[in-house]
């Protein structure tokens, strides 16, 4: 079977820099994540104290409000236990909450207790709950596991890669291709390395596939950076192989079922304290994988706000030498997302309705994941990871020394954003607005550093042409058209691709997006490359060129998914 049918003499490679990065902190004892795991116990205590304090303030320090908060939490937790139990839930979950229930009742009916005693008891209960949450959330980083995982990922994937490229069983021992040929890291890598030793990095990547976290983990390690911590869905820990990887990569656990305020505050406090501690962190700010295939434009702001809080807290705690937080947007660019068919289906099902989060089942067992990984690395076409320019917590670019700069290059003191009357003040409403602003800036940067591939170009153009020729249909009716009724004359398609390509190049000149070097080829080559690669290993191909010179689709929803990658650039006005 021919897997890579690209012309051998002139491969359509991207010119990326393939080089060895020295680790910036060679001794593992210096890694923040190692220091954090050594002081795990104290760290958790700090998170508990800090989040209990926050809840206390949120309830206005009123006994009644505190009591209600506890009751609501209890109610929701018992509902969760009943309706949505998971394998990872600890065995004593039910007994813990029934103890909370009886304590709550006992405090409530005790006539002899004075108001202040009651309050003390409620606070005790609050601490017990945050303690339990914090223990659950806390990551369990083990250096030996990390080393092992890195070896598995690098070794395993490189072998798979060589088998597929050089072909033949013997090539499993070949070193001709390394992972860096497969996954190209481009962009501001040097700045990222530089800043990682000057402050705390919060990396925010786009999220299209479950592979992303492993991909980013590998990228971080390849760039010689110490491991980052990140929040991973607790459901992923249901699967043992994932649990192993996640723990090794410094993941802490996020349980999407728990929506009560005490849990959310504990989670945010954990993240904030870790950033303050100096742990580089990773957030997928879209929250979950992009269902529609568009680049995230509305970001989940919950965890992002902890970066801002941590920065402010650093200014308060260490006025002399405050640690600086750097936000680094990253986009991951693929020709092919394995989960695309189920993602887009889910997107279309839930559009216009309240979305209920349910993990789709292609990742439900270790076996399926392994199969996926093998498929991905042996078959999938190239991937690139673009590292964006680092920004401060308000979205201003920072220079190589980590100083924030305004549009005219004038230095800005970030501390000033938190100042009133000459001192740093805490104002949560202000920080909420700053978080929104940062979210907008990140989305803007995503669009700028997004790297257009040939496959994005052809998918976008083809779907637009189909939409154009069925102008009377709304999106949903369009997606229900029988695929055999759709065909585009190749010449029209090619001409439209040319127009879109010109506009993409113009946008690139204006710094509004990035393009893969293969887009510098002739239009004919680009279109061929695009058609070969777009969603290349789906059972039904989003685009095919037929013998008689037409372009057809086997799955219009998939085509729509890949088309969406170029949404938001107003390219539709060009065709």
């Amino acid at each position: 079977m021919v897997i890579f049918d690209q012309p051998k003499d002139k491969p359509l490679t991207d010119d990326y820099i393939k080089h060895q990065y020295e680790p910036i902190l060679p001794k593992k004892d210096e890694w923040p994540v190692v220091r954090l795991s050594k002081g795990r116990k104290e760290f958790i205590q700090q998170v508990v104290a800090s989040s209990s304090e926050k809840i206390k303030n949120l309830t206005g320090n009123q006994v009644q409000a505190l009591k209600e908060e506890l009751e609501v939490t209890l109610y929701r937790e018992r509902m969760r236990l009943k309706q949505n139990p998971w394998l990872v839930d600890p065995d004593d979950e039910a007994s813990f909450w029934s103890r909370v229930k009886s304590s709550l009742l006992a405090i409530g009916v005790d006539q002899k207790l004075k108001e202040s005693d009651k309050k003390a008891k409620y606070l005790q209960l609050l601490t017990a709950i945050t303690q339990r949450y914090a223990e659950e959330i806390a990551s369990n980083f083990k250096h030996s596991h990390y080393k092992m995982t890195r070896r598995i990922v690098t070794f395993g994937f490189s072998r798979l890669l060589n088998t597929s490229r050089v072909k033949g069983f013997k090539s499993i021992f070949s070193n001709q291709y390394s992972l860096q040929d497969k996954i190209q890291i481009i962009g501001e890598t040097d700045q990222l390395r530089e800043l990682a030793s000057k402050g705390t990095i919060v990396m925010v990547p786009t999220h299209f596939s479950n592979l992303d976290s492993i991909l980013i983990g590998w990228t971080i390690s390849t760039l010689g950076l110490p491991p980052f911590i990140y929040g991973a869905g607790l459901n992923l820990f249901n699967i043992q192989i994932f649990a192993y990887f996640m723990n090794a990569l410094g993941a802490y656990k996020v349980d999407r079922r728990k929506k009560n305020q005490i849990y959310l505050e504990t989670l945010k406090t954990y993240s904030r304290e870790a950033i303050q501690f100096g742990c580089h962190s990773l957030f997928f700010p879209g929250g979950t994988r992009s269902r529609s295939g568009t680049i995230e434009s509305k970001l989940k702001l919950g965890l992002l706000s902890t970066a801002i809080e941590a920065q402010r807290a650093n200014y308060q705690a260490e006025p002399e030498d405050p640690g600086k937080v750097f936000i680094v947007p990253v986009t991951i660019n693929y020709h092919f997302v394995l989960e695309a068919p189920s993602l887009i289906k889910e997107h279309l099902n839930y559009t216009g309705q309240e979305r209920y989060y349910s993990e789709s089942d292609e990742f439900s067992t270790s076996y399926k994941i392994s199969k996926f990984l093998v498929k991905f690395f042996t078959k999938g076409s190239d991937i690139s990871v673009s590292i964006g320019k680092a920004m401060d917590i308000l979205g201003n670019y920072v220079d190589e020394k980590g100083n924030s700069r305004d549009r005219h290059g004038r230095p800005i003191d970030c501390k000033d954003y938190f100042m009133t009357n000459n001192q740093v003040t805490v104002d949560l409403q202000r920080e909420e607005e700053y978080t929104k602003k940062l979210g907008k800036r990140i989305a803007e940067e995503f669009h700028k550093i997004n790297r257009v591939f040939s496959s994005h170009l052809v998918a976008f153009t083809a779907f637009q042409l189909i939409q154009r020729s069925n102008e009377k249909l709304d999106l949903f009716s369009l997606l229900q058209l029988p695929e055999e009724d759709i065909q585009l004359p190749f010449d029209d398609f090619s001409a439209a691709c040319g127009k879109v390509l010109d506009e993409i190049k113009r946008l690139k000149e204006a710094g509004k997006l990035g393009i893969a070097p293969h887009l510098e080829k002739t239009l004919e080559e680009i279109i061929r490359h695009g058609l070969e690669n777009v969603g290349m290993y789906h059972a039904k191909r989003p685009l095919i060129r037929t013998e008689d010179g037409h372009v057809i689709t086997e799955d219009i929803s998939l085509l729509y998914y890949y088309h969406n990658r170029l949404d938001g650039y107003e390219l539709e006005k060009i065709i």
């Binding site: 308000l394 005219h408 800005i412 003191d413 000033d416 954003y417 009133t420 104002d427 409403q429 202000r430």
Partner: protein
């Protein structure tokens, strides 16, 4: 005045940038409770304020001081009120930008729009005017400076009445509660009420767009028409404001408050309003150039009509009052003819925005 502001003030002064009639009124209001430092470009104006406490025959409170040095103003003040016409707003912000820091609060009082075109483009050679080409003043500040905590003043604030200490009120709008509280703390007095609103874009647009209707109201009076016509105009004008305001990112509610209805009713009935006066004189047969040349300060409505007309064309929206006013202002259309075409305009729904 001494470069070191600390010698001249007991506490940090509040800054006022620009000292036209509204600037003067705000400076006086601020001076009731605070030290005030005014920035004026013109040396003679600075001198007049510092020596005789007057500006263009308006009396300023004795404790108001003035400077023409932006750096010193930014150094001395944490809170500043830019009170400059929209035509000069961007230029002044660019001039101040090097001295501004993220700890500054800027609360502006300008009810106008500013064009934001790509380099080399002008209103004449650009094909489409979209929302991103039109900035409210808070957007200009965001674009040109590092100041984040921005507010605006809007509402029925006829400068002459404020200068006479008549009772009145204003809206301070900002995304930041702390900016609203600061604005309220600084401005509120026995005779002056200050409301807060978090929809700054809506409030800015309400103040800006109502000028269009004010010109039209003046024109109706200039034709000698009565109160039925005025009532018709004000209510249809309101619908148009909300239609335009929503399209440009403002919330409906803001148009129903002091900055919307409050200001609209005031300016549509007041000979003290420049925009109203402009419309009145147009209807009396005067030419636009002649009217603008003998007005002391600009009527913001003229520029607003021009920008909004272009915006409408590019976005396929209709706004009959604005469109007809444009023809009167720039295409020598008779006010009577514009009125006729409005009366024939095929919209029969009273309210469609709630």
């Amino acid at each position: 005045m001494d470069m070191n502001w600390k010698k001249s003030f007991n506490a940090r002064p509040i800054g006022v940038i620009g000292i036209g009639s509204f600037g003067a009124a705000i400076a006086n209001l601020l001076a009731e409770k605070n030290e005030v430092l005014v920035y004026a470009r013109d040396e003679a104006v600075v001198k007049a304020i510092n020596e005789t406490h007057t500006v263009k025959n308006r009396k300023l409170a004795d404790k108001i001081k003035a400077t023409n040095d932006p750096e010193m103003l930014c150094e001395a003040c944490e809170v500043m009120f830019p009170m400059i016409p929209s035509s000069g707003f961007r230029e002044v912000m660019v001039q101040f930008a090097p001295y501004l820091h993220p700890y500054h609060f800027l609360i502006h009082g300008t009810k106008g729009l500013s064009l934001n075109l790509p380099e080399g483009k002008t209103l004449e050679n650009i094909t489409r005017i979209t929302r991103e080409h039109i900035c409210t003043m808070s957007e200009v500040i965001l674009k040109e400076t590092v100041v984040e905590r921005i507010g605006c003043l809007a509402g029925p604030n006829l400068a002459k009445e404020l200068l006479e200490h008549q009772p009145g009120a204003t809206v301070v709008a900002s995304r930041y509660n702390e900016v609203i509280s600061e604005g309220q703390r600084l401005l509120r007095s026995d005779n002056f009420q200050v409301y807060g609103n978090s929809d700054i874009i809506g409030v800015e647009l309400a103040g800006v767009l109502k000028n269009i209707i004010a010109i039209a109201a003046g024109a109706l009076s200039g034709l000698g028409l009565g109160d039925n016509a005025k009532g018709l105009l004000v209510s249809r004008g309101m619908v148009e404001l909300i239609h335009l305001g929503n399209a440009m990112g403002g919330g409906t509610k803001s148009f129903l408050g002091l900055a919307g209805i409050g200001d609209l009713v005031t300016t549509c009935n007041s000979t003290l309003s420049r925009n109203y006066t402009l419309g009145f004189r147009l209807a009396q047969g005067e030419k636009l150039v002649d009217i603008t040349s003998d007005m002391e300060e600009v009527a913001e409505g003229i520029n607003t009509v021009k920008l909004i007309k272009r915006y409408l064309e590019s976005t396929n929206r209709r706004a009959p009052i604005t469109e007809n006013l444009y023809r009167v202002l720039f295409e020598d259309y008779k006010v009577e003819a514009a009125l006729q075409s409005l009366m024939k305009y095929p919209i029969y729904t009273d309210i469609d925005f709630l």
